[in-house]
Symmetry: C2
C-alpha cells in the first residue's frame, strides 16, 4: 500500500491535487464571501461582478496562503488566480478572473514582481483589452533584500502586496475610478519596503524535499518567499537582533522623515508560531520608535507565507491620512476582517 | 559569543523571557483591546472592569497562542493568565486577573482539564470568594482521545475552549447573569468533542529539544496539546484518511442525531500552513455531510496550538439556535474578530 511508505508530513492527498483541494475547502468554508471555479481555477467574490465598481484581481503561485485566495471578499480582492505551488498561474486563469469580476468600471491587476507572473498578467491584460475590458496593472516590488533574483528582474514583490490589496480594495469599495485605485496601489508600493529572514527551509509537496538547505545554526538573511537566496547566511541571531536587522533594512531603504506615521506588518512565513511573532512585533515597534517613527497601525500574523517555512518578514508602510483611512475601512475576507 | 552557538530556530531572546516578551508585543500591537500587567503576568481587557457585566477569565500554559491572550477583548475573554510554556499559571495570577475584571456581577473561570490548572484555579477561586467576588468555574474536557493522560485525570480540555470562550463571552456581553453564562459554557463543553493528530513534534524553547520523538513516516493519533501521547502511532496517512479518522472519532463519541446542525472547527497545531488546513476542512465538511450532519458554521485556522507542531485537530460542536446566535454575535479580539 502506498500509505505505508508515505513520509511527507503534510495534510495532503496526491500532492498534485493540493492546490485544487485546498481551494475546494476554502470555498466550502467561506461560501458567503467567495466561490471557486474549478474549471478556470479562480476564486471569485460571491457577488461578483459588482456593477460600476473597479475590480481588483491578484494571483501568483500557491503556497503563500492566505495570499491571495484568503483575501477575496468585500473591501479587498474581487478575484484571485492561484497557480500551482510556487508556480505562476497561466494567462487563461487571469483572463477568466478578469472577465468574471469586470463590472464595467475597469479591472486592476496587482502583480507581484516575478518574471512568470509579470509576463502572464501582461498577456492576460492584452486579451482582456481585446475583449473590451479596461485593465490597469500595478507592479509590487517592495523587497529590499536583493536586486534581481532567482525568478525576478528587479526587486521581488512580497508583503506590500497584502497592504496594497487591502488599501486599494477599500478605494475601489468607496467608488474611486480605475486610475485613482491604481494610483493608490502604486503609492502603497512606493511607500512600502520589506525584508525577511528564514530560520528553516520548506518542502513543496510535489518535490517532497526541502527547497534549499539551511545548515544547523544558520539563518538566511533576505530570504525570498520561494526560498530564493537572500543577501547572506549568518549565524542564528536572537529575536532582538533579528528585529534590528529587519528594521535597519527597511528604514535605511525607505528613509522616512522623522515623525512619519508608519504601519509595521510583522509577517510569519508559515511555520513560526504567534508567540514568536508577537515577541518580534514588540521588538520591532520599540526599534521603530527609537528610529523616530510613529507606528499608528500594525498587522501581525502569517499572511504571505512560504508553506511551513520558519521565519518572519517586516513590511514597513509610510502612512498618510488617506492610506490610514483606507486601511481602517471595513473588510470582510476569510483572512482579514474588521468593521463588517 | 553566545550567538555563534545558537541552534534554536526560533525568534526568541533568552528562552526564559519568551512568554513575557511575547505578551509585551501583544499589548503593543493591540493596546486598543487589551493591556498587559507584567507584575501579575495577566492580560486584561482594556476597559476592564465592565460594571455589571459577568467577567470571563481563562488561562493555562503558554505555547498555545492565540489561546488565551489573543482572545481577550470585547465579546470574548475579560482576562487571560498565561503560565510559562506548557506550565500552569499560579493561583496569584488567576486571582489578580479575577480582581482586575470583577465588575460586581460575578466572574467565571474557564478551566481546561489539566491537573495543575484545575488545582490552581480552585485555589484562586477560593481566595477570590474570600475577597467577596462570586466565582463560578467551568471545566472544559472535550478531547475524546484518551481517558486520563500525562497531566490530566479524565479527558483533556482542548479546542472546545476556544468555542466556549467565544460563546460564553457573547452571553456575558448581552447581559446574562453568572449562572446563565456558566450554564452556556457548560453546554458548549457538553456538546463538543475534539480529536487531534500530530505530524511532527515541537520544541519548548527552554528545553531546546523536541518534546517527543516521532519517527519518519509515522503520526501520533490522538495527540495532546503538550505532546501527551494519544491512542496510537500509525503510518502517516493522507489528508482524506486523516479527515475520516478525525470525523469518526468525534462523531462516534458525540453521537448527534441525524440532521444536527454543527460547527466544525479545524484547528492547526502551529506549524501546519493554511493551504493544508483548508484541504482538511473540505474533506471534513464532506464527511460530516455523509454522516448526516449539517455544518452551518465553521472555524478554520490555528487557534489552539502547540508551538510549531505540525498537525491538526477537529472540534465538533452540536449547535442549537441560542449557541448559533451567540457564535454570530460581534467579537473583537486580536485573533477573532467580526461584526465589530
Amino acid at each position: 500500500m502506498a500509505i505505508a511508505t508515505r513520509t511527507l508530513k503534510k495534510l495532503v492527498n496526491d500532492p498534485s491535487d493540493l492546490v485544487k483541494e485546498s481551494l475546494v475547502g476554502l470555498a466550502a468554508a467561506h461560501g458567503d464571501l467567495l466561490r471557486y471555479d474549478p474549471d478556470d481555477q479562480v476564486v471569485v467574490r460571491a457577488d461578483a461582478p459588482v456593477e460600476g465598481k473597479v475590480a481588483l484581481v491578484s494571483g501568483g503561485g500557491s503556497g503563500h496562503e492566505p495570499l491571495h485566495g484568503g483575501f477575496v471578499g468585500r473591501g479587498m480582492l474581487d478575484a484571485a488566480c492561484p497557480g500551482e505551488v510556487f508556480t505562476s498561474p497561466v494567462p487563461e486563469q487571469m483572463l477568466a478572473a478578469t472577465k468574471a469580476v469586470d463590472g464595467g468600471a475597469g479591472v486592476i491587476h496587482l502583480v507581484k514582481n516575478y518574471t512568470g507572473d509579470v509576463m502572464n498578467f501582461k498577456l492576460a491584460a492584452e486579451d482582456a483589452e481585446d475583449e473590451g475590458i479596461e485593465v490597469m496593472s500595478v507592479l509590487i516590488d517592495d523587497d529590499v533584500a536583493v536586486q534581481d533574483s532567482l525568478y525576478t528582474a528587479g526587486r521581488r514583490g512580497v508583503g506590500a502586496t497584502v497592504l496594497a490589496e487591502k488599501i486599494a480594495g477599500a478605494a475601489a469599495d468607496r467608488g474611486d475610478d480605475v486610475q485613482s485605485v491604481a494610483a493608490i496601489a502604486t503609492r502603497v508600493n512606493e511607500q512600502a519596503r520589506s525584508f525577511g529572514v528564514a530560520l528553516s527551509s520548506c518542502t513543496p509537496p510535489a518535490a517532497g524535499k526541502p527547497i534549499f538547505d539551511l545548515p544547523e545554526g544558520e539563518m538566511e538573511v533576505g530570504i525570498g518567499i520561494h526560498g530564493e537566496p537572500g543577501r547572506r547566511r549568518e549565524p542564528l541571531a536572537s529575536g532582538s537582533e533579528i528585529a534590528a536587522l529587519l528594521v535597519d533594512a527597511v528604514v535605511s531603504d525607505l528613509s522616512p522623515e522623522g515623525g512619519t506615521k508608519v504601519l509595521p506588518f510583522v509577517n510569519g512565513m508559515g511555520g513560526t508560531p504567534q508567540i514568536e511573532l508577537y515577541l518580534l512585533y514588540g521588538e520591532v515597534q520599540a526599534k521603530l520608535r527609537e528610529a523616530g517613527l510613529e507606528p499608528v497601525r500594525r498587522l501581525v500574523g502569517s499572511y504571505i507565507t512560504s508553506l511551513e517555512m520558519a521565519g518572519a518578514s517586516l513590511t514597513l508602510l509610510a502612512l498618510d491620512d488617506e492610506l490610514t483611512e483606507l486601511w481602517d475601512a471595513p473588510v470582510r475576507t476569510p483572512a482579514l476582517r474588521w468593521g463588517a
